[in-house]
Each structure stands twice: as structure tokens, then as C-alpha cells.
């Protein structure tokens, strides 16, 4: 693990111990580091790194915002102590100029863009005519991203997304949770325009896509992150979901063997699958395939079927252990505590809630999430 400030502390305590313990017997070896610290005089300041800064060797807490964010929006992000942002990218093909214009505007307010979502490739997903044109535009975009120093490009690859299963469930103090139930919506008919799509076809299309774009991304120095199916359910409006199980995610990274072919690891979605977030994190992280991360907590009633997205401090994911393990793996990309809860404060303020999820919140909810996530990051970077 890089940048562990415990090493600073050890150096200084060793020095202090060296002078104060001269002449004592070997028993002093049993004095734990904690006791040594207690024994120190309070005016004897321990040399510590503080405040801890995010840098290139560390993960980066980030929030999503519009690429057209105004100055006030950017400053609101700075207020909660966040220096990194992500957003949906411009229409493809991206150019170095179009990216730099966006990134420079954020830079002026001290924000670094670390991830843009790329889209506009329906023909690629459905394997229709026109996909080669889309793929060409995406390749150009990846090259532009590399030149503009945009490290991560995120994307989706779903035939359909089952938004109808979401509903708001009230939690403590009446705060909104984003709940999901597959049962009432699992048999919804196919979308006339999009049709029904089988998993084997989608896999073929994804393979075709990755074989084309991953070598380009790798050469450009850009990492791609495929967002899991969220909600992670088997079928949406008649179309199979191919990023909805752990086996799917494993299969994805084997399609093209490159660090540029990675996933967005979501510890909440992982729990929604009934999988252990820590094991899954280890699997992908140790292979250097986590290129972006969502930091959320959930209560799962039945894997793949029913769950609620809850506050970070409640639920069935050990958020501390997730933070500890991802930092332990030397992860340096984004950590996004997305999907904040719907607080009444946001509901009662104009434009407080700006998202598509029932029970999803706004800036106030995010303020709480960032405070919590920042503290956990600090704690892990500070501890052994």
C-alpha cells in the first residue's frame, strides 16, 4: 500500500521511544504502539501527514455533475471538499478540443474531470447496421480522451433498463430510500422500438465492440469501465441483461485481456446479487479491472429480486471494509458515493431533487454522503 502515513508515525515514535526507553529491559518490546503514544507528552507533536490529500497514488472521491455546470454548481462541489468530477460526455465523436473546453472550465474552479460516460451506440448494442460507424466514433473519442488526459471512460451495454420496478420507501425520519421490486414488473412486454434481445446475441455484440475499441483505449492510455446492470435483474421488457451476475462480470473482463477492459465496481449492486462485496472487490481489484467505483449501501431482501438502497451508515455492506480493501489494492480511480437518499431538506427546496430515482436525493443528501465517505477514506489512509 502506498502513501501510508503510519510510516511517518512509526519513524517519529521510534525516535521518541529510543531516547526514553534506554536502559529498560526487553519487556519494553511488549509496549504496543498505542501505549507508546499514550505515554508521549501531549506537547510532543507526532509527525503526521495532515490534512491527507488525494493524489495520483490514491483513490479520488468524486461526484457526478452536468458537463455544462455553471460556476455556482462547481463551487457547491468544492464546498463539500470534492476535487474530482464525472459526467456524461458530449455527443460522439469527442474531439480533444471539445473535451478540453469542458475540462478546462472545471479546472478553473479547481475541479478535475476523471470520468466521462460515453453513449450514442444503440446499433452497437443491438448489432444493427450502423454499428461500425458508431464504433469508429467511439474510437476517435477514446483517442481524444487520451490526449486530453481523461483517464476513465464509462459506458453502458444494456438492451433495456427496468426503471418501472423502482419505488420510494421511507426510512428513518421519513427519508426516502430507493427500493426495487422485480416481481410486479418482470413480465412487462417488449418495447416496440427496441424489441427483445437474447443474451447470446448481446454477448456477441459486446465482444465485437470490445475487440474493436479496447486496443484503441489501451493505446490511448484510457481505461473503460462498464457499468453493471442496475437494477441487476435477469430480464427487462423481454430483453436479457448481460451485466447482472458475478459470472457476467467475470466473463466481461475475459473477453479482452487488458486493464482498459474493466468494470465499474458497485458494492451495493454486488450485495443486491447476494454476492459478498469484499470477495468480488478482491477478484476484480487484484486483476486491476476496477476502473471506477460506486460506494453505496443496500438492504437486500431477496437477491436479484427485491432490495432498498439505504444510507451509507445502515445496510448490509461493510463500507469501512470496502474502503480498506480498495485502498489496500492500490486503487487510484474514482469513488463515487452516488444515489444519496431523499432528505426532506432537498424535497422542500426548489430544484433540490434532480434525479430519476424514486427516493433519490440531491445536493443535501450528497453532502452527507461525501462527509461519511471522506472520513472513511481518511481513516483507512491513516491506519495501518
Amino acid at each position: 500500500m502506498k502513501d501510508n502515513r503510519r510510516s511517518f508515525i512509526k519513524k517519529s515514535t521510534a525516535l521518541a521511544a529510543g531516547t526514553s526507553l534506554i536502559g529498560l529491559t526487553a519487556a519494553c518490546k511488549e509496549i504496543s504502539e498505542k501505549d507508546e503514544k499514550v505515554a508521549q507528552k501531549e506537547d510532543e507533536k507526532i509527525e503526521r501527514e495532515w490534512p491527507i490529500k488525494e493524489n495520483n497514488g490514491r483513490p479520488k472521491i468524486c461526484v457526478g455533475t452536468s458537463r455544462n455546470s455553471d460556476r455556482d454548481t462547481m463551487r457547491k462541489i468544492k464546498q463539500i471538499g470534492v476535487d474530482y468530477v464525472l459526467m456524461g460526455g458530449p455527443p460522439i465523436p469527442w474531439t480533444v478540443e471539445s473535451l478540453r473546453e469542458i475540462m478546462d472550465a472545471f479546472k478553473e474552479e479547481g475541479l478535475t474531470v476523471i470520468n466521462m460516460m460515453i453513449g450514442g451506440h444503440p446499433n452497437t448494442i443491438y448489432g444493427r447496421e450502423g454499428r461500425d460507424d458508431e464504433i469508429e466514433k467511439i474510437k476517435q473519442s477514446l483517442i481524444a480522451a487520451g490526449e486530453a488526459d481523461l483517464p476513465v471512460v464509462e459506458y453502458n451495454f444494456y438492451a433495456h433498463r427496468l426503471m418501472e420496478g423502482y419505488y420510494e420507501k421511507l426510512g428513518r425520519g421519513g427519508a426516502g430510500h430507493t427500493a426495487f421490486d422485480y416481481e410486479p414488473v418482470k413480465d412487462l412486454p417488449a418495447d416496440a422500438e427496441r424489441g427483445e434481445h437474447r443474451a447470446e446475441d448481446l454477448w456477441k455484440n459486446l465482444t465485437y465492440f470490445l475487440n474493436e475499441v479496447i486496443p484503441v483505449a489501451e493505446k490511448a492510455g484510457v481505461r473503460m469501465a462498464l457499468h453493471p446492470n442496475d437494477p441487476p435483474i435477469p430480464v427487462s421488457h423481454g430483453s436479457d441483461q448481460i451485466m447482472a451476475t458475478l459470472e457476467d462480470w467475470k466473463r466481461l473482463i475475459e473477453l479482452v485481456d487488458s486493464p482498459s477492459n474493466g468494470i465499474t465496481f458497485d458494492c451495493g449492486v454486488t450485495r443486491e446479487l447476494g454476492e459478498d462485496p469484499l470477495e468480488v472487490l478482491q477478484y476484480f481489484g487484484s486483476r486491476d479491472r476496477i476502473n471506477h467505483m460506486h460506494y453505496r449501501n443496500v438492504i437486500s431482501d431477496k437477491p436479484y429480486v427485491k432490495y432498498s438502497e439505504v444510507f451509507l451508515d445502515e445496510g448490509q455492506v461493510n463500507m469501512y471494509a470496502v474502503m480498506r480493501d480498495i485502498i489496500g489494492l492500490g486503487y487510484t480511480h474514482g469513488i463515487y458515493p452516488e444515489h444519496p437518499r431523499a432528505l426532506d431538506y432537498d424535497k422542500e427546496h426548489p430544484e433540490g431533487i434532480r434525479n430519476q430515482y424514486p427516493g433519490g436525493g440531491g445536493y443535501t443528501g450528497m453532502t452527507y454522503n461525501i462527509g461519511f465517505t471522506r472520513a472513511m477514506e481518511l481513516a483507512v489512509l491513516s491506519s495501518k
Binding site: 507526532i46 427519508a175 458475478l246 448490509q316 426532506d344 452527507y368 462527509g371 461519511f372 472513511m376
Partner: protein, 374 residues
């Protein structure tokens, strides 16, 4: 049909009992580690109406502690004395009715200039204060945060200093108050204030012991030597040690205000350990500061967001965990944020929300790093 098979397939890919076991273990661990057992609290000094949003937010955050004075507006009998049991009970019940737990009286009644300056009538004040302690305990509250700052209490010279992203912070610079005239009370010596403090402690601490009331003396804020002829004595670590020795008792304790003690030039985590092990910390103001003057005690400072000041907040929280602190802790003097009118500098809503998230993240972390997670 395909859907059914697919669900079945994944459901059985990991056994149900295994899933349930890890989920139950994690949920249990999360519950055990929640806030490291600390009572997460907020200050509501302006009353329920002005703090309507914060009350709502506190409940949604699950930070149920309410710290406030004895608010007369909550008395059923408007003529009631603030030290009377009925009055206190009204206040406790009012907080309960909005879903919060009134756990610390900060700024108690009947402890004013007469006692602190040793003026005529102090015995009556002290007598009423003792009555207050007794009735407060009976109403279910057992911590009083008080200070020894007569006439001029809390002071800042800038209530809207721009911080990161344009957030507004509170700041103090002694240079801006040093030439202000003395007050109508005239001038006092430090020794006079010590005498008065000693008189108070000797009268009150034995009673507090009997009652079971934890007295938590807050450091002077700002902790400079004198303002407008009124000296300040609770402004060095040595003086606090001296105060604790006047009447040694578990009930003669301290409010660990990280900001002010840090401005005295001490290392906060080590101080928490020393006083914490001695059982003297009854209440915590979790707070951070920067831009000091370089003199001790500092004549200058700015109050920051929790994650950007000079105090190592992680080490501080670890120290609270190590000493087994389970009392009330609240954020103090938070920046005013976007969209907020700066009408209660240091005490607006969003800054508290951010702070509670931050404190909770730290508390859960230090709690978990000491438990082996399976």
C-alpha cells in the same frame, strides 16, 4: 420461462444459507460499530422554530442528541423558573415530542456574571444552580456544559470569511478587539476570576457528585488573555489542570472543545487520552481550526470544515474510541454553505449535515479497525 430459469440459476449459484450468514454478520457488525457508541448530537441554541430544518435533518441522519439551553418558550407556565422541575421537564418533553433526545444543557441558567465576577447575589445564583442540577437530573439529563467567561462570552471578528467554494467561515483576530473600551463592569484581575471559580466549584461540585450531574467546563472562546478589561483564565492547559485539582471529582470535568484547546498549542489526540483516561471528558465539541497567529494561546484563527483544519480528526476520533468515550459529541461552528442565508453563523444546517456524516464515518472506521472482520 427464460427469466425463471435465470433467476433459479443465479439463486443457486451461491447457497442461500451462506448468503444469509454473511449478510447477517455484516449487518450485526455494522450495528455494533455504529457511531462507536457515541451519542451523535447537534446544537439547537436558537430554538425549535429557527432550527426546524436541522431537527428534520437530525432525525433523517439518525443523530438524535439535542444540545441546547433551557428554552423558556417551551415552558407551559411562562413565569416558570428555569431551574424548576416543571420547566425543565417541559423542555425535555418538547424535545422528545419532536423525536430528539435532550442530552446536554449547554449554557445553563443561574450561572451568570454575579457568580463569575463574585458580585452581590452570587450565593443566590449558586443556590438556584444547585436546584437546577438536581431537577435536571430528575428530568433525565446528566451533563451541563458551562463556561467561565463573564460579560463577554463567545466572540468572533468575522462572521463571513470566504472559505473553499465560497463557503462562509467564522474567524477571530485579537487585533480587531484589543483597542475596544472596557465595559460597564470595569476591570478585573485573573486572580479574582480564579477566586470566584474556586468558590463556585467548592459549593457546587460536592452537590453535583451527590446528584450525579457531570459538569463540563468549556474553554474560553476565544482563549485570549483578556477582552475589554475582562480577563480570561480558562485559556491554557495548565489552568485546566489547576481547575481540575481545585475539587478533584469525576463530576468536575471538561467539555473537550477541540478548537480552543488546540489554539492553546496542545496536541489534541494526546490531550483526549490524558483527560479521557482520568475520566474528565464529559462532552465533546468536534471542531477544526486553521490560520493561527503563532503565539500561544493563539490570537487568531479561522474555523474550517472538519476535514481541512490543523487538527488531525482521525487521530482525535481514535483517541475517543481508545478512552471508551460514549457521551454526547456535536459538531461546532460549521461553515455556512451554498443556498443558506448566513443568519446563524457557525450554526447553519448543511455544515452540520456534512459534519455528522464525517464524524460518523470516522467513528465507524475506528470502531471497525479494532474488530477483526470476518
Amino acid at each position: 420461462m427464460a427469466a425463471m430459469a435465470s433467476i433459479g440459476g443465479v439463486m443457486y449459484s451461491c447457497s442461500d444459507s451462506q448468503v444469509k450468514k454473511t449478510i447477517t454478520q455484516t449487518a450485526k457488525l455494522n450495528e455494533l460499530s455504529k457511531d462507536a457508541g457515541i451519542e451523535m448530537s447537534n446544537a439547537f441554541f436558537w430554538g425549535m422554530k429557527d432550527h426546524a430544518y436541522l431537527i428534520e435533518l437530525a432525525k433523517q441522519m439518525g443523530a438524535y442528541g439535542a444540545v441546547a439551553g433551557i428554552d423558556k418558550r417551551l415552558f407551559k407556565d411562562s413565569e416558570g423558573k428555569p431551574w424548576a422541575y416543571e420547566s425543565i421537564k417541559n423542555v425535555v418533553d418538547a424535545w422528545k415530542s419532536v423525536g430528539l433526545n435532550y442530552n446536554v444543557v449547554e449554557g445553563p441558567p443561574s450561572l451568570y456574571n454575579k457568580t463569575k465576577l463574585g458580585l452581590e447575589g452570587r450565593d443566590e445564583e449558586i443556590e438556584n444552580f444547585i436546584t437546577f442540577m438536581s431537577n435536571l437530573k430528575r428530568a433525565g439529563v446528566d451533563v451541563i456544559c458551562y463556561n467561565w467567561m463573564p460579560v463577554i462570552s463567545w466572540a468572533r471578528t468575522d462572521m463571513a470569511k470566504p472559505g473553499r467554494g465560497g463557503a462562509l467561515m467564522t474567524a477571530f483576530d485579537y487585533d480587531e478587539v484589543k483597542d475596544k473600551p472596557i465595559t460597564e463592569y470595569g476591570e478585573f484581575t485573573k486572580e479574582a476570576l480564579w477566586d470566584n471559580l474556586e468558590y463556585f466549584l467548592k459549593a457546587v461540585v460536592p452537590e453535583a457528585e451527590q446528584i450525579g450531574m457531570k459538569l463540563a467546563l468549556h474553554p474560553d472562546d476565544p482563549q485570549v488573555h483578556s477582552i475589554q478589561g475582562i480577563p480570561r483564565i480558562m485559556n491554557t492547559i495548565e489552568n485546566f489542570d489547576r481547575m481540575l485539582e481545585i475539587v478533584p471529582s469525576d463530576f468536575n470535568g471538561i467539555t473537550m472543545c477541540q478548537g480552543n484547546f488546540s489554539l492553546m498549542g496542545t496536541d489534541i489526540p494526546n490531550l483526549i487520552r490524558r483527560w479521557g483516561k482520568a475520566g474528565k471528558i464529559h462532552f465533546v465539541h468536534f471542531r477544526n481550526i486553521k490560520e493561527l497567529s503563532g503565539q500561544l494561546p493563539s490570537t487568531k484563527f479561522t474555523e474550517t470544515f472538519h476535514d481541512e483544519g490543523d487538527i488531525d480528526m482521525y487521530e482525535a476520533m481514535r483517541a475517543y474510541y481508545d478512552i471508551g468515550f460514549k457521551g454526547a459529541m456535536r459538531p461546532d461552528h460549521v461553515p455556512t454553505m451554498a443556498g443558506e442565508e448566513n443568519i446563524r453563523p457557525g450554526y447553519m444546517d448543511l455544515g452540520n449535515l456534512y459534519a455528522i456524516g464525517y464524524m460518523r464515518g470516522l467513528a465507524e472506521s475506528v470502531s471497525k479497525e479494532n474488530r477483526e472482520i470476518t
